[in-house]
């Protein structure tokens, strides 16, 4: 360490370690969800996800019954606990009462309450000897055995192949794409005007837009829906596009305006001197240079509309043909009282697949847009 001169390398390492720790911290819940999405509901409540890859010792119950053989006036019943049961490893202990299900080490003999003896071996084979004929119901026996880890794709099958999932997926796209494009179109024009055109009241207008950022959209749900009903849009896809546009505009305008204001003044003034109209400046110069800001807002808006449940419930018709994916998951797959963690985790992964893909695609454009800005 001493031969590295200066503080910088050490600082770099500290930064790197910090970043690494943060990344791990952020990833832990996602990994947990991912592992849980491959597990059965009962497994999820039985053991935590970080123990999922390892075999666990589980206590199970079985019944010993069958046709006993009579040997020297004693009824002898033999068999194997593993018969008909899959995925049971070595048996370590057994018992004959619920309150003490693993009190006897495998291979040792125990007395039964009704008289007689029972022995269960590590390989699952057992021998029960009773002086009287055992009842048809059979003898309860409890045993602890190693159970190999079990993963299943059932959750994914249930989520992906449930009725109407494809329709919900298409509906989500039908909502999301226009709800991302429309506000960007409007906001780009507005942002240019607010950044580079001189007109009275501009400052107030900007302040107004910033002020709208703090208005919670929940406040607008009822009046907006009433308005839609009055003007005949009602609950429809057009209605939700307008709603998302309205809710997204303040942030879009604010973000784009701040970015556009920061563009080099010389270029725009130069263009004006050369006789370019505002529209030409906007389309030829400002818009291409603002690409990174447009892309980053598009990501924001896309993610928010993709994940939205509330606005979709209010502004879309409630029949299952116009459900978006979030509604399909919350109202149909999870059932009336929730608690199905496997489905929840799986649904989360299915629904983030598209946003992740979009993010990685847009990230490429983000970098390209930045480069274009610097090279001019």
């Amino acid at each position: 360490m001493e031969n590295i001169a200066g503080h910088k390398p050490a600082l770099t390492w500290v930064t790197r370690i910090c970043v690494l720790v943060l990344v791990i911290l952020w990833l832990v819940p996602t990994v947990g969800l991912f592992v849980s999405s491959f597990r059965d509901r009962d497994d999820i409540s039985a053991s935590p996800w970080w123990q999922a890859p390892f075999p666990t010792e589980q206590t199970s119950a079985a019944r010993i019954s069958g046709e006993p053989a009579l040997v020297d006036d004693v009824y002898v019943l033999t068999g194997n606990l593993k018969d008909g049961e899959e995925g049971i490893g070595k048996i370590t202990a057994f018992g004959v009462s619920r309150s003490d299900p693993t009190g006897i080490v495998a291979g040792e003999e125990t007395e039964l309450r009704g008289g007689g003896t029972l022995v269960v071996n590590a390989d699952g084979s057992y021998e029960m000897r009773t002086p009287e004929e055992p009842s048809d119901k059979g003898q309860r026996v409890y045993f602890a055995a190693e159970v190999p880890p079990e993963f299943t794709t059932d959750n994914y099958e249930r989520v992906l192949y449930s009725n109407g999932m494809a329709q919900a997926f298409i509906n989500t796209f039908t909502v999301t794409i226009p709800a991302t494009v429309i506000p960007i179109l409007i906001a780009a024009f507005a942002a240019y005007a607010l950044a580079w055109m001189q007109f009275p009241g501009r400052g107030l207008l900007i302040a107004g837009v910033v002020g709208l950022l703090v208005v919670p959209l929940q406040l607008a749900l009822v009046p907006l829906l009433r308005l839609h009903n009055d003007i005949g849009i009602g609950q429809s896809f057009v209605g939700i596009w307008l709603a998302h546009t309205g809710f997204g505009l303040p942030l879009a305008i604010y973000l784009l305006r701040n970015y556009m204001v920061g563009l080099p003044k010389d270029i725009i003034e130069g263009a004006k001197v050369d006789g370019a109209t505002d529209f030409q400046i906007f389309t030829r110069i400002v818009l291409p240079l603002s690409f990174p800001a447009l892309a980053s807002f598009a990501i924001f808006q896309f993610l928010w509309t993709w994940n939205d449940l509330l606005v979709a419930k209010v502004f879309l018709p409630s029949d299952s043909g116009s459900w978006v994916m979030t509604r399909k998951i919350a109202d149909d797959l999870l059932g009336s009282r929730g608690g199905d963690w496997g489905i929840l985790a799986t649904a989360a992964f299915v629904s983030i697949a598209v946003p992740i893909a979009v993010f990685f695609l847009m990230q490429r454009y983000l970098v390209r847009g930045l480069l274009a800005g610097s090279v001019k």
Binding site: S45, R98, Y142, L225, V314, S318, D332, L334
Partner: protein
């Protein structure tokens, strides 16, 4: 086989506008359903081309089941029923009613919200004569009428809610095999139940699994406990006064009931994990303790819906069973039953809607869901033989044989109390606050909103 098929076809052909008849679960004429009244209803009504829209809290497989019931209405009248379930029904219905795009009917999971909407003029009273019909045809009919009657905008009481589907809350779930192995008997009285609780502790076990966790609604399972114990320590009239706050929340009667709950939940060793765990365990995870080996607990007091959260391989009736949460032998208060239920209310009136409500009065509307399971009804005219399982039949009989039926009190109190202060107060109590402090705090909240 062929004969049955023909009979089914013949019967369904008799029904007017039988566009959907072939999709019906049970062909009209088959089984011990009340087909006669259905047939008469079908003959009397023709709503071809009309639509009834309904929204409610039933989603997932409950939605599938109720839609199969609605199929019978569609087959009988030719109308279309559009049902949509929502996980956040309580918010959605208020928004759509306020905005003027409400469906014809809403299914309310508790009367509090319906009463609130009636007061704001968002509900339409049920057709005349419904009150008399409910009083006559439901077990403990008048109490169901009272539960569906709310003040309108001008303060006049009108019937707004028709109850359909009930939940039974006074149940204790247990594993018969565990009881058998330990030689425990089903307690017949509260005294026996308390003695059994102590005996299980003496035998080295833990008697109770109690979980109050439920996300934003954490605490509600404890309010059910207190309500049940209130009914077992006080006459029903005192319970009614408590719900309307004629009896202050910090009255010794209420404090007594809360301390009774504390006896179960706060006594060391009585509840799995101790009082701290009671407050933090999710109510959905809580019953799994019954089925663990060795058992984490032997008894779990919860409503009739809880088997939905039992592990998948548990079969109700053999692996798990229930008994009535008993009343005190020494107090002569009868066998009170605590329950809850969902009710239909009219959010946007139409003729087809009224006809639909007529259909909901028919035994078949109840029987068609009974036969699918997960449904209890207070309708006295149904064939209880049609219940899907023996345990549901037993629950249905508890419901119909109740000497006193009382609705979940926290659902009747104002939302701020019944879905707020009471819940959080019970969490505070479970984690160590005294019943006096907790009830005084709830009462002062109630005074504020009066």
């Amino acid at each position: 086989m062929k004969k049955v098929l023909f009979a089914g076809v013949a019967a369904s052909a008799m029904i007017a506008g039988n566009a959907h008849a072939q999709d019906l679960m049970f062909a009209p004429g088959d089984g011990d359903f009340h087909w006669d009244s259905y047939q008469a209803f079908a003959d009397a009504n023709d709503l071809a081309g009309q639509t009834v829209t309904i929204t409610g809290p039933w989603t997932g497989n409950e939605k599938e089941r109720v839609e199969k019931v609605f199929d019978y209405f569609e087959a009988a009248t030719g109308a279309t029923v559009e049902y949509s379930g929502s996980d956040s029904f309580e918010q959605d219905i208020v928004i759509s009613a306020e905005a003027g795009s409400a469906p014809n009917l809403a299914v309310f999971p508790q009367p509090g919200l319906a009463a609130d909407m009636a007061k704001r003029g968002l509900l339409t009273p049920l057709p005349e004569g419904t009150a008399e019909w409910v009083a006559e045809n439901f077990a403990a009919g008048q109490s169901w009428v009272d539960l569906g009657t709310y003040a309108d905008q001008d303060g006049n009481d009108q019937l707004y809610g028709l109850f359909y589907r009930a939940d039974l809350k006074s149940l204790v779930w247990y594993v018969p095999e565990a009881f058998e192995e330990m030689g425990y008997e089903i307690p017949e009285s509260m005294e026996d139940l308390k003695a059994l609780t102590q005996q299980i502790v003496d035998d080295g076990g833990t008697p109770w699994c109690i979980g109050l966790g439920s996300g934003a609604a954490t605490g509600w399972p404890a309010t059910d406990w207190v309500e049940d114990l209130m009914l077992r320590t006080q006459p029903a009239s005192v319970y009614d006064q408590w719900v309307t706050n004629e009896l202050p929340f910090n009255d010794p009667a209420v404090i007594g009931a809360i301390n009774e709950f504390g006896w179960f939940a706060r006594t060391d060793g009585y509840a799995d994990g101790g009082a701290e765990a009671v407050a933090s365990t999710d109510f959905r995870d809580s019953p799994t303790g019954l089925f663990e080996l060795p058992p984490k607990c032997y008894m779990h007091r919860q409503a009739s819906f809880i088997p939905a959260f039992f592990p998948e391989d548990v079969e109700v009736g053999t692996d798990a069973d229930f008994f009535y949460f008993p009343s005190y032998a020494e107090k002569d208060l009868g066998n009170p039953v605590l329950g809850a239920g969902t009710l239909f209310g009219i959010t946007s009136p139409s003729d087809a809607t009224n006809t639909f409500l007529e259909f909901m009065k028919l035994p078949i509307a109840h029987e068609a869901w009974m036969a699918q399971g997960g449904f209890l009804t207070a309708h006295a005219g149904v064939n209880t033989g049609l219940y899907n399982t023996d345990s549901e039949r037993a629950m249905g009989e508890i419901l119909q044989g109740a000497t006193t039926f009382r609705f979940d009190g926290s659902d009747l109190m104002p939302g701020e109390i019944g879905a707020g202060a009471f819940w959080t107060g019970m969490v505070d109590y479970t984690t160590g606050a005294s019943a006096e402090d907790v009830t005084a705090a709830i009462q002062s909240r109630w005074n504020e909103i009066k």
